[in-house]
Assembly symmetry: C2
Homo-oligomer: 330 residues x 2
DNA sequence: TGTGAAAATTAGAGCGCTCTATACATAAGC
DNA sequence: GCTTATGTATAGAGCGCTCTAATTTTCACA
């Protein structure tokens, strides 16, 4: 399929290639007459501009690259959706690559984006601080979402985890709970901040912040839940590291005949699809990921347009109350 | 950031640009000595090949485009993962675009891919039969996953829905069930085949195939479940259109105090993450999406290498038995 | 030492587009 | 009528790479 080029269109329309180029780029400096003629020829010849050539010649791609650690994670899907929305508003395209949950994969995905020379990159990564990241930020405008490292070279956009934890503690204490346990996620992105927010919120109320070790998955949370329910005085509420972890807790409590929320209240984090599932209906903290994605695009475009100093912003989450939390049992 | 070009590297290494090009493409026709020299210079100058220029000059992109209707759907995520695996094996890159669940979005995403002139496209679409799709298949090698239309212009890869339904019916009848209801998903991709498979499997066993209307989401399945449980003789097993629908059924049954699987067995379809959730643990049909993605890549590469006639293949799903199915109550 | 083939390298013509000058109309100003 | 504006259109030089064909170097062998 030999492709139709601008020259073909120009010849067919009886004008110069430069004019066709102007028409294709919606330049106002073209007469209506010529524009119509060119457009007609282009349509007739089934002309499709060659992006490679255009980008090569113009030196910019009009494209934002998005690197997502894990396509399965709705958290990242929403981020990408927000980026897409922001990009569309600004007439830019979005190309997505994924690291398939592996660090090597993330690096390869970034390499792909770097080679493509997208105008900027939005990072939805799992592990920051890798060399590939800082090297990248050196080479192209970059916004990292949920990166609490705040390096100079890139902008960052984080959720206010402390505030989210505060919301949870406030909600639970207002329901009368005082023995509240948090299952954390070690050093995973956002987890330390979430934990810190929890202990602060509890301490501020004169309550003992009890933390069990876990991770952002079901199994470890389930394991933690087993230990937790073996306590002499089990808590009346459990605040899990994220929705998936909450689901693990949920499953264990159900299996040992503990009623939710009559006996124990459970709270998740992220408001992923699973939290909304009728069969679970989890009270959780909603991170405005779509908004994050949108804001990330704005920051990126500022950078593309020349801003030099890094910005680090915090976005406020909100609480979504569903059916897994209720008044403390007496 | 003026970029380093091949000429810079060539000059620095004291060789010609053509030689650098050969080294970059791993040509065997370069002496070890020169190769080392070039590589050293490239590293020192932080050289990164310009993909746009390369693709323009070579006329191919070494990239597979993947269009996914919905990034939130794990079904598509796995498809993409399979494509990525296949692509990596063949030294190709993968670029993902999404239609964000809208038909217009799908068309725009395809336009993006077409403009990029990726060597081929894998389609994970929701609605096939649109003009944009057939136009696309005309222009570039295309493999459509889960497209039961089987047009000449593109390859298709479908799951053997009839077989999947047969697996479900076989599993349930072997547990003693005979009053089995299927909640379908109208004309959504795969749904008619699934329904047909169900009715055939039931009829083959001399059982009445009862079908309720639904869709691939929770709400409609929940609505159907409400009607179903109002039947004079409610079924002892419900086979939902997909996992999400099963979750809706699950939620309703729980809410009216029906025990799963003691009173009613529930089966889903797709084996998405939610089926594996401890809190749900759904018996479901596993579609080998990752394998589909992998196979799609193989077909695509055959096409890229010149195969003209379309291939239409069927992949066999398998049954994953979890905790929502059990012997029929007496 | 010469010769031919094989191996290694290079020149240079594109790939399809953008973009800066420059050219050419036509209209306006005096 | 001539000059200066103003609006359109075009020539042509790249953008950074690939790839064919040609050239140069190397090496085996007579």
């Amino acid at each position: 399929m030999a492709q139709t080029t601008m020259d073909d269109v120009a010849q067919h329309a009886g004008v110069s290639r430069a004019l066709v180029s102007l028409v294709m780029r919606d330049s106002p400096r073209v007469s209506d007459h010529s524009r119509a003629k060119v457009l007609a020829s282009a349509a007739e010849l089934d002309y499709r501009p060659n992006v490679w050539a255009r980008n090569l010649a113009s030196g910019q791609t009009n494209t934002i690259g998005v690197m997502l650690n894990d396509l399965h994670n709705p958290y990242f899907a929403e981020l990408a959706e927000g980026v897409a929305a922001g990009a569309t508003e600004n007439g830019m395209e979005v190309l997505i690559t994924s690291g398939w949950q592996r660090e090597a994969g993330e690096n390869a995905a970034i390499e792909t984006l770097l080679n493509l020379r997208t105008d900027g990159i939005v990072l939805g990564a799992a592990r920051f601080g890798s060399e590939a990241f800082s090297e990248m930020a050196q080479q192209t405008p970059t916004v990292a979402v949920s990166n609490f490292h705040k390096p100079d070279a890139m902008d960052t956009l984080c959720n206010d985890e402390a505030y989210g934890a505060e919301l949870v503690v406030e909600h639970l204490t207002s329901l009368g709970h005082s023995r509240i346990v948090h299952i954390d996620a070690g050093t995973a992105p956002g987890a330390p901040e979430r934990r810190k927010g929890f202990t602060t919120a509890m301490s501020n109320r004169g309550l003992a912040p009890i933390v069990f070790e876990g991770d952002y998955n079901e199994q470890s949370a389930r394991a933690a839940a087993i230990d937790i329910m073996k306590l002499k005085e089990p808590p009346t509420a459990i605040f899990a590291a994220n929705d998936l972890a909450a689901s693990g807790v949920f499953a264990h409590l159900r299996s040992i005949g503990v009623s939710i929320p009559d006996d124990v209240s459970v709270v998740g984090y992220d408001d992923t699809v699973l939290a909304g599932l009728g069969a679970i209906s989890l009270t959780t903290v909603r991170q405005p990921m779509q908004m994050s994605g949108h804001r990330a695009t704005e920051l990126l475009i500022e950078r593309i347009n020349g801003r030099e100093v890094a910005k680090h912003e915090l976005l406020r989450p909100s609480l979504v109350v569903r059916s897994t939390t209720g008044p403390v049992p007496k």
